[in-house]
């Protein structure tokens, strides 16, 4: 059987727990799948590779589909696990900043290719600020963290799940979330090209099923996920404490009000519409969009 | 003049101009010369008169600017077949031993190295370089380098031999020895030789004819037939006839008023 290649968003971290647990336990094989899991180099890069047919499935930040489809990508999300917006701005844990307006006069670092880049103006506007009220520095992910912990910046634009647990060691932080501005950005889920969804729908369906099972187990005991990731990526020298927290946050962000009670992976139209409205405002997508172009629930049971 | 029918080299009104942003240089003007097959011709003339230029033109290394030259029955377009050339500066390849430098010509002609190794070693021996086969050029003295480059030119027994002051860096005695050696090689193989030298004695001793060139621009002012019997003992140089020839050439030089142009 042709392997089903799944590319993750980044080097190993908590959000990968479901995939690695399933692989580690041999659940894919049990279900008759031959899954190959690759680490990624950013959600955007994985998205490109899925679109180019170099890999079959990607696990990425689903919000990126907005801009990607606008540029002609023919991919869809067929399962959303972490459905709540997780984009956040890290600030000192004991800082008194709690809302957008508190960022006035602050120095913020962001990765130029991050989904954050497109939202900065609208986010600040919701707090009555403009870009000139803050100082935005564009820095590579690899230098982002150092710049922030070195105190060269007051805030770091990232995601809550990936960043907060790591920050604990060097600069304990809390989050100002993107949805403070009423903006939404669907978080991690699985994508494939429309063609793959058409031709290999059965396999994808099985994939989603196995993932549901894995996440159910992880919800009950996050340490299963921690152990699975570390077993699957022995060379990465991961910190189990950080992984456990990342998994915990991931699980915390699984549901929006609209998906409460629905199966893991199922996506709500209203969530996508809320997200797309925000994207339309920023110019990421043009008016006239149809939310159902971006996702399908056909493969979720 | 040599009989045209058996001419090996025919030079007809050849001129050569070196273009230069600092002013073009007319190096040769209206050169006419026929060299019979098997003839030994020397060129003498003051420094800078175009001797090397003429040789390079005949070797097909410099395009001629006017006139025409025929070598071995073919109009000159590139180097003629079966050419052996000795350059004014010994051009030895630094990355090859002396033996390998000599064998270079064999490689160019796609001959088997092993077939010619013996001949190369023999030539080196005869030119006083026995024992230096495996040394590199920079380990040799100036005169030794020059001799090595002569061996290289002789290796493949060329029909036409163009030599630009081949013995310039040698002492008089070594020179005498090699003059004899060269005569022997020439007579044994009926080569056509064009030989540039600064030694008037050498020119007369070796040649059937001596061409006297002059400067500004380079042209032929006299061609002297050397009617001395062969084989010529070295002592022939003390003879009156010989003296007359050298005298005639010296006279030309004096007339040209070297350095006082």
């Amino acid at each position: 059987q042709d392997p089903l290649t799944v590319r993750l968003d980044f080097s190993p971290w908590g959000v990968h727990a479901g995939m690695h647990l399933a692989q580690d336990r041999g659940w894919f094989e049990e279900a008759g799948l031959n899954v190959e899991i690759q680490d990624g180099r950013g959600s955007g890069n994985t998205l490109q590779l899925v679109n180019a047919g170099q890999v079959d499935v990607g696990q990425i930040q689903l919000g990126l589909l907005g801009a990607a489809r606008e540029e002609g990508a023919t991919i869809k999300s067929f399962a959303g696990f972490q459905r709540k917006t997780d984009l956040c701005i890290l600030v000192d844990k004991d800082s008194d900043a709690t809302e957008i307006a508190d960022l006035k006069g602050k120095k913020l670092v962001v990765f130029a290719a991050s989904p954050w880049a497109a939202y900065i103006d609208d986010f600040l506007a919701a707090g009555g600020l403009t870009r000139d009220d803050t100082e935005i520095l564009f820095v590579d992910p690899a230098a982002l963290w150092g710049t922030y912990t070195a105190g060269r910046a007051d805030g770091l634009m990232s995601t809550i799940g990936s960043a907060i647990p790591v920050a604990e060691n060097s600069r304990p932080s809390k989050c100002l979330m993107l949805d403070l501005a009423g903006l939404h950005f669907p978080s991690y889920g699985l994508i494939a090209t429309e063609e793959t969804i058409q031709n290999r729908g059965d396999e994808l369906k099985t994939l989603v099923e196995v993932e549901q099972r894995a996440w159910e187990e992880i919800k009950k005991d996050p340490d299963l996920g921690v152990k699975a990731i570390m077993a699957q990526r022995p060379d990465a020298k991961l910190d189990p404490k950080v992984l456990r927290e990342q998994i915990q946050i991931t699980v915390d962000y699984f549901d929006t009000p609209a998906t409460e009670g629905k199966p893991i992976g199922w996506q709500a139209k209203e969530d996508w519409e809320a997200a797309l409205q925000g994207m339309e405002k920023t110019g990421l997508v043009k008016p006239g969009w149809n939310a159902e172009d971006y996702y399908t629930n056909d493969l979720v049971q | 003049m040599a009989d045209t029918a058996s001419s090996y080299v025919q030079i007809d009104g050849v001129g050569k101009v070196y273009p230069s942003p600092r002013g073009d240089v007319v190096a040769l003007q209206d050169i006419n010369l026929d060299i019979a097959s098997g003839e030994f011709v020397s060129i003498v003339g003051p420094s800078g008169c175009g001797k090397s230029t003429l040789l390079k033109c005949l070797a097909g290394l410099e395009p001629i600017s006017s006139g025409s030259a025929v070598v071995a029955g073919k109009h000159l377009a590139g180097p003629p077949d079966s050419l052996g050339m000795v350059f004014q500066r010994d051009v030895l390849l630094d990355w090859r031993t002396i033996l390998d430098n000599v064998l270079l010509q064999a490689e160019f002609l796609r001959l088997r190295r092993s077939d010619l190794k013996g001949r190369a070693a023999q030539l080196l021996q005869r030119f006083g370089l026995g024992g230096y086969e495996e040394r590199y050029p920079w380990e040799l003295s100036g005169g030794m380098r020059q001799r090595a480059s002569i061996c290289r030119a002789l290796l493949c027994d060329p029909e036409l031999l163009l030599m630009d002051e081949p013995f310039g860096a040698l002492d008089a005695m070594t020179r005498d020895d090699l003059n004899l050696e060269l005569t022997r090689i020439w007579q044994g193989s009926a080569k056509t030789v064009l030989f540039i030298t600064h030694s008037i004695t050498e020119a007369v001793y070796l040649s059937d004819r001596v061409v006297m060139m002059s400067r500004g621009p380079g042209r032929i002012v006299d061609v002297i037939d050397i009617d001395l019997p062969r084989p010529r003992p070295l002592a022939i140089r003390e003879s009156a006839e010989f003296g007359a020839y050298t005298q005639r050439i010296r006279h030309h030089f004096a007339e040209l008023g070297i350095l006082k142009e």
């Binding site: 955007g44 998205l47 490109q48 679109n51 180019a52 990126l64 801009a67 990607a68 606008e70 540029e71 002609g72 990508a73 023919t74 990765f111 130029a112 290719a113 991050s114 989904p115 880049a117 497109a118 935005i136 520095l137 564009f138 820095v139 590579d140 690899a142 230098a143 150092g146 710049t147 070195a150 060269r152 990421l284 | 942003p21 290394l61 410099e62 395009p63 590139g78 920079w138």
Partner: protein
């Protein structure tokens, strides 16, 4: 006098280069028209041009920024590189210290080092210049060292017999002799200085073509990515031929330049 004109490669050279570029563009456009890859995969030249023409000001401004970094870094690389090369050739000690360190440093990918530079030096121009210099200096040092060492021993003897000081030996013998090599190094270095500037922009800062590439990548705007890449290619070509031109002006005496072509072809 057509010396200067020949130096400027004459019309025929410029024409050939243009012909090549135009053929590439046509082939590319045709390939895209025939195989119809998605735009996000490979945009056609026409789309790239349209994208550029829609906001030329933005591209040109960022190009200027990148050019500034590149030029400064290139200049510093040449100065520093030549100084280092001279030191290395003059002193066995420096050869065994500076040279070794330089070699080690050059083997560490700048993409991996750049983030550290940003952490150490901040997000200003400094880390970009530093990265660009680190990329560009190596070919200069290596080639200059070769050039300084490849002097005909007789020339060294000439200068020593003339009681030339070390400095004179360097300035009047070794350095002119190393110039052709130095220029080869500079040709490699000018391209690498540009690459270094971009790598620096990738890691920090909100200016330059590197920044534009990143932003466009983040938005899956492959066409816009390509506009910047094409502009980089053009900039690099122009910079390279500028060095080449300087070489022709300064080294008319070198065999590689004499007679305008390879010696093999001349008269053959």
């Amino acid at each position: 006098m057509n010396g200067l004109k020949r130096l400027l490669y004459g019309e025929s050279r410029t024409r050939d280069v243009l012909l090549v570029l135009i053929s590439v563009v046509i082939l590319w456009e045709a390939a895209v028209a025939i195989f119809k890859p998605p735009v996000i995969f490979l945009p056609p030249p026409s789309a790239i041009w349209t994208e550029f023409a829609s906001t030329p000001g933005i591209f040109i401004r960022h190009m200027g920024y990148t050019l500034g970094t590149t030029a400064l870094a290139f200049f510093l690389s040449v100065v520093l590189g030549v100084i280092l090369a001279v030191g290395i050739v003059q002193s066995k000690f420096l050869e065994r210290t500076v040279y070794t360190l330089l070699v080690a440093l050059n083997s560490v990918p700048k993409v991996a080092l750049a983030p550290l530079f940003v952490i150490w030096l901040g997000v200003g121009m400094e880390p970009k210049i530093a990265v660009a210099i680190m990329l560009a200096i190596f070919p200069i040092v290596i080639d200059t060292v070769l050039g300084l060492r490849s002097v005909d021993p007789d020339m060294i003897n000439l200068a020593r017999a003339g009681r030339a000081s070390r400095l004179q030996m360097l300035l009047k013998i070794q350095f002119p002799n190393a110039l052709p090599s130095l220029f080869a190094g500079m040709k490699v270095a000018v391209s690498f200085a540009l690459v270094g500037a971009i790598v620096g922009e990738f890691v920090a800062g909100g200016n330059g073509l590197g920044f534009l590439v990143l932003v466009a990548q983040g938005q899956f705007d492959t066409t816009r990515v390509f506009v910047s890449l094409v502009l980089l290619g053009l900039m690099g070509t122009v910079l390279f031929y500028a060095v080449d031109f300087a070489e022709r002006l300064m080294l008319p005496w070198h065999v590689s330049q004499r007679g305008g072509g390879s010696p093999v072809e001349a008269g053959g």
